[in-house]
Symmetry: C2
Subunit: 142 residues, 2 copies
DNA sequence: ACATAAGTGTAGCCAGTGCTTTATTTGAGC
DNA sequence: GCTCAAATAAAGCACTGGCTACACTTATGT
């Protein structure tokens, strides 16, 4: 592999990582709205395991990215784009967990690892995962 | 899932990400030493797709982590710990790529996605991958 | 020895993502 | 309507990890 290709690979991985945080927040805000009708900064912070100021900053970035809207001292809400992203992320998360379980990873571990893995799964890979599971739903385990 | 569990998941993913950069650099420095006898800052930078100052900073962090040693204007070398990490990372990378290919991901895509995925694959999951491939080396494709 | 090019280091800037500390706003209870 | 607790915001710190610009070292060629 040439250095240029290697560099491209790393740059792509870095870009994916940058997106990952936004994806996590969008997904979680979607969850919170579904569960509690609205997403408050405090709830977001609690669930992400960070302090409120950190959550506030993250929301600011999400607003900048056009994924959410919010008004001071009011809840945070997903834009159409944000909601679409949240849905997509959630579906991908499920697929990754299912794939891991299908190849024999214990469910709890699959859930844990998927949190990091999912952000690096390309559309191509996701399709392959789905195709694989359609073909061998239980991976013929045992 | 409780908020605490969710937070723990995210914190774990964040910790994995912090380690990922060190792993990438250690692996690549190992590659360079193997290929060219030594790892120069410029080579590291070129292959990572970053500028030399960035590579220099990364090497400084690696030194702080005890993974490499270096003297000004001389090459960078892995410590025993760094070499062990590089070996481990390289093996894991291969396993992840192979697993992806085994479930039907195109090889080039597998290589690309593995770069990001590998850092989030726990030992448990890695073992499951190996067991899966031992059982179905070609995943019965086609 | 000296000039020059390549490699390396350093300084300073920016953005992201965490933190703590300190206002401010909101909303509930009196 | 005032007070107070909770929620939110704002500001400042630290570290990572990019960058550019500039200084310095090394190696090479004359």
């Amino acid at each position: 592999m040439s250095d240029e290709q290697a560099a491209e690979r790393f740059n792509q991985a870095r870009a994916a990582q940058a997106m990952a945080v936004l994806e996590d927040y969008a997904e979680m805000i979607g969850d919170l709205i579904e569960e509690m009708g609205e997403a408050r900064i405090t709830d977001i912070a609690g669930r992400m395991g960070v302090t409120h100021p950190t959550a506030t900053k993250a929301v600011a970035r999400l607003k900048r990215a056009g994924l959410v809207i919010s008004r001071p001292y009011r809840g945070v809400f997903l834009t159409e784009e944000g909601a679409a992203l949240a849905t997509r992320v959630r579906a991908r998360h499920r697929t990754v967990v299912d794939l891991l379980v299908a190849v024999g990873v214990p469910p709890e571990t699959a859930e844990l690892d998927a949190e990091g893995i999912e952000h690096h799964v390309s559309d191509t890979t996701l399709e392959a995962f789905e195709a694989f599971m359609a073909k061998a739903p239980t991976a013929d385990r045992g």
